[in-house]
Amino acid sequence: MAEMLSGADMLVRALQDEGVEYLFGYPGGAALHIYDAIFKQQKVEHILVRHEQAAAHMADGYARATGRPGVVLVTSGPGATNTITGIATAHMDSTPIVVISGQVPTDQLGTDAFQETDMVGVSRPVVKHSFLVRNAAEIPMAVKKAFYIAASGRPGPVVIDVPKDATDPNAKFEYAYPKDVAMRSYNPVAHGHSGQIRAAVKLLLAAKRPVIYSGGGVVQGDAAEALTAIARRLDYPVTNTLMGLGGFPGTDRRFLGMLGLHGTFEANLAMHHADVIFAVGARFDDRVTNNPAKFCPDAKFIHLDVDPASISKIIPADIPIVGAAAPALTGMLGRLETELERNPDAIDRDAIDAWWRRIDGWRRRFGLDHDQRARGDAPLLPQQVVQAVYRATRGEAYVTADVGQHQMFAAQYYLFDEPRRWINSGGLGTMGFGLPAAMGAQFAFPDAQVVCVTGEGSFMMNMQELSTCMQYALPIKIINLNNQALGMVKQWQDMQYGGRHSHSTYKDALPDFVALAASFGHAGFRVDTLPELEAVVAEIFSDKYKDRLVFLDAWIDPDEHVYPMAIKGGAMNEMVLTRNGGPAPPP
């Protein structure tokens, strides 16, 4: 005899059956039947946020840290629309989240009812897929499909919009959670085509100036191990995109650092001069390629991606491989071993050694540390703060970032040896992402060290979540690189608008962040000189604050810029390296 459940109970039960640990949400009229169903069970823990945008970022942070979909529950109208920025963030970075939104009852749909918004319509351009549940009986299959779609192929956000009448506690239906799901219109490719893999291995082995360029697909696709094995077997250099950091160990000597707009000198030059570029789970974003017409003029491209639409979208691929990163790379590794067994001299070692000497030369001359100068009275530099945090956490923390200069400094100076440790809004560039994303990661791993590197501008976009951190006792460490300005905007205004700082400062209008943190029951510190830095950072990461949220307000040099910086419209070898240094000397 099948179990009879209401729509609300079915929804919560389906989440349980899907193995959901946390629901990040905020109640409201259209979602109240669902909230009542949550009240009556213990398996799925609901986390009450302070703003629905933050709920979406928390689910996203959870998903990025674990690889499992993060789940959001909100009400209709403003509850739903507040999640849109979070959904768009997840969409741009291909992370699996499932957003369940309450909706007005079916008979009121389209009548401009109280708190009615066409959520499926509003979210359509920024979701992988969405469902509008028409009646309660559809709920189990909608949930099953939503999780399947969100997490498979190129992951992404899925919305389930649930009209209130579909969750009526008095209307009961037979409940059975589908064991599996098959969709004739959705069959993501797993293994890459073996012929393409053979061709790719052949081209890789013949390379004289190779670069492996890997992105978020390697992290999201759990392919870091396979990628690392290939790079080490070949002894080829690896660069990561902003989304791909941790996909290859940051402390490995083969790692060139991040590439692109604020990439390292050596990564960008290696790309520019490469003869073979193996792109894995990367999409040739404009922040990487700069001017596509001048991009890597000598290179042949192998492009492996789970999304066929990403291949040859910006840069035509010579050898396209459609496939999930992990199985395709494992296939490639096998093929590589076979080839090397047959012909141990397949790689032109002299050419590769010469290539490494060139790369190491670039690295020595203009590695990232070039800009680590101490000025006369030495104001604290943001890079020094990130490096101190890196040392204090032994490079093992989950680090989230907001968006702006601090994000780039964190990406450049915190070296990630493991995937899923670096969590940032790379594609959409969402200020306000950092703190809630850190909360999602901390919920996923309660005992792990979670650090949010932020700036005061970004932090103030979602700082209401300090209250949520208080409620759930989240021991996040917030490192606020406070330059009293919207630093990246200001940097562009310095470089491109004659130093006219149009609406990028609010110097006399900042809160006392130490007192602000204290008002939520958290610990706060302030630091503004290098000599104090090490001690303060050591203290906040000591056992004394193991169980508390600590807010470090680091007052840094407000005039610091992020370098290197690509020259707009240029090739990858065209960069500005220092504030007064002008363009890089041609290598």
Partner: protein
Amino acid sequence: MSARRIIAVLLENEAGALSRIIGLFAQRNYNIESLTVAPTEDETLSRLTLTTCGDESTIEQVTKQLNKLIEVVKVVDLTDGDHIERELMLVKVRAEGAQRPEIKRVADIFRGQIVDLTPDAYTVQLTGPSEKLDAFIRAIGRAAVLEVARSGVSGIGRGDAMMRL
């Protein structure tokens, strides 16, 4: 090189599926010249034909992005092979006095049928490739055309080429 393309799409016959296709074109700045859609003999599927134009890489992106939509089951660029293209037009034409036989003659030449009439006007039904319909309007003269309703292009591959699941 920008060329006109006719793309046929089989999609799940579900609420909201069409809006995703139209939204995709708007969002990605692709152009739609015409679009027709109706259920197929299999009522769970709709068939949509759209005409668009763009260079080769744009069209490649259009078909890839269409394929990415979860409700899209199959996408075929009919212009890749031999195909038949038809459009239906209903056109109301001023037809008074001495013009009436002349309009009728032009309609006959284009194998059109007069499907309705008033003392001052004919309604002509015409099918064919889009250029033929354009040519009819030129032949009648724009001044005589009172109202036009065109269906948009529908298309199918020639010979044994079949678009099915």
